[in-house]
């Protein structure tokens, strides 16, 4: 019950064909369907009423996690989040991405959702996006006449807004060479274990002789898009962090945020917790306290 309103429906057999179809409509009128876990419920609830739905599911060769030549990994447009979670290559070489997707509790949702699709929803709470921020990931976007590869951070321009051009479809995530040698941490707070996060933090860093190099800190749920905590990174880079410096970095991270109050949490709490989680994530990365952090508020 609760049928869907009429839309035109296409099942192209290539991304190029999908792009051509998409161009026939205004950007807001055409929706690309990958997993459907976000799109179909929204259509059922009349939150989105597309004129056209372009399903990618008949396009072969889009479901892959494979080596990018000499180094790095590519993840295809129809690769599910569950596949990413189960991939030994991801677990080994991109631990922070594994930790991010592992925190998403529902196996059904992970099975149906694609990572690329998740990015295209452009939620500031996306665990996938956050971990890709600190991995320096890129996105390949296929357009009518050309394609481009952009850093993941440039993909996000606003709340649920991406920098996709009207003729573009996101085709692939490109991960850099293995990050197995990096320290990392992924932390989030939720209302229940299966909820979307109230706040989430991802960190990768290279630690050499106790000294921080290449610090990457990303914060979620505290701005219209996931953001990098650049001031916090600046404080830590090149330093041997002690308790005071870590606290200062965490404070700097929280200062740069613009939290809101919504059904999940309050602006004040989010700001405080970004500080706490950033501190803990840095500590975890530095292996200072070695605490294990449980999934969800209630556990």
């Amino acid at each position: 019950m609760s049928y869907l309103r009429n839309f035109e429906y296409f099942e192209p057999e290539s991304l190029e064909e999908a792009v051509k179809l998409k161009l026939k409509y205004d950007p807001e009128e055409a929706k690309v369907l990958a997993g459907g876990v976000d799109l179909v419920p929204r259509m059922r609830r009349r939150q989105i009423l597309p004129k056209c739905v372009i399903s990618l599911h008949r396009i072969s060769g889009l479901d892959y996690i494979e080596s990018n030549g000499k180094s790095g990994l590519r993840i295809g447009a129809l690769t599910s989040i569950r596949s990413i979670e189960l991939s030994s290559a991801i677990q080994r070489d991109y631990k922070v991405l594994y930790e991010a997707v592992h925190q998403i509790a529902s196996i059904q949702v992970k099975t149906m959702s694609t990572a690329v699709g998740n990015l295209c929803v452009a939620s500031p709470a996306s665990d996938v996006a956050l971990s890709l921020f600190v991995l320096g990931a890129k996105l390949r976007l296929i357009g009518r006449t050309s394609e481009r590869v952009i850093p993941i951070e440039d993909f996000y321009v606003g709340l649920n807004q991406t920098s996709l051009r009207p003729d573009e479809i996101a085709a692939e995530i490109i991960l850099p060479s293995s990050t197995a040698q990096l320290s990392c941490a992924f932390l989030r707070l939720t209302r229940t274990a299966t909820d979307c996060p109230k706040v989430n933090v991802a960190v990768t860093m290279k630690v050499v002789d106790n000294r921080c190099k290449n610090v990457n800190i990303a914060l979620g749920c505290v701005a219209p898009t996931p953001i990098r905590a650049q001031k916090a990174e600046d404080k830590l880079r090149g330093q041997i962090p002690g308790e005071k410096l870590i606290e200062a970095a965490a404070d700097a991270a929280a200062e740069a945020t613009k939290s809101i109050t919504d059904i999940r949490s309050t602006a004040e709490y989010r700001k405080e917790m970004i500080c706490v989680l950033t501190r803990r994530a840095i500590e975890k990365s530095l292996n200072m306290k070695g605490e294990s952090y449980r999934r969800g508020d209630m556990q």
Partner: protein, 161 residues
């Protein structure tokens, strides 16, 4: 787009059905095929009551357009028992008190099946994680977890699939 004939393979049986692209899989199953065991509640992919297996993978029928499931093997709860012989998971659910109102039960059992198909000897924690996408308001989950562990044990000993 107008209605078209689509072919489905559900519980090992072929079906030819008239659908539109707008038809959601759960509505196809319930409204057109009288396979009412796939339940509908939240409609937003949260409760798992509409869980089915498509090519052996867990799916939420409330969030899937039926047209994207043609040509695939779909297993609903009706396809699990063989006549009146219950699958060990179904038996365990009955014996361990894992069923109360029964509305979440089909989805729970299929999630349990997906778990045991890939991990025949799960820990308690792994069972909890496997069922995280299925909400139950009646049982508090404790007996459901007990039932899945018991089913794993029975299947390990009896070799039943």
């Amino acid at each position: 787009m107008s209605k078209q004939i689509a072919k489905f393979n559900i519980n090992g049986r072929p079906y030819e059905v008239l659908i539109e692209p707008q038809t959601i899989l759960v509505d196809l199953l319930r409204d057109q095929l009288d396979l009412m065991g796939t339940r509908l509640n939240c409609g937003v992919g949260e409760c798992g009551a509409c869980t089915v297996l498509i090519d052996g993978k867990l799916n939420l029928a409330c969030s899937r357009l039926a047209i994207t499931a043609t040509g695939k093997d779909i297993l609903t709860i009706e396809g699990l028992a063989k006549g009146t012989t219950l699958h060990p998971i179904q038996k365990a659910f009955a014996e361990y008190g894992a069923i109360q109102c029964g509305f979440c039960t089909p989805g729970m059992i299929l999630s349990a099946k997906a778990l045991l198909d890939s991990n025949p000897n799960p820990t308690k924690k792994e069972v909890q994680e496997a069922l995280a996408g299925n909400l139950c308001r009646c049982t508090g989950y404790l007996k459901i977890v007990d039932a899945v562990l018991a089913a794993a044990d029975a299947m390990g000993k009896g070799g039943l699939a």
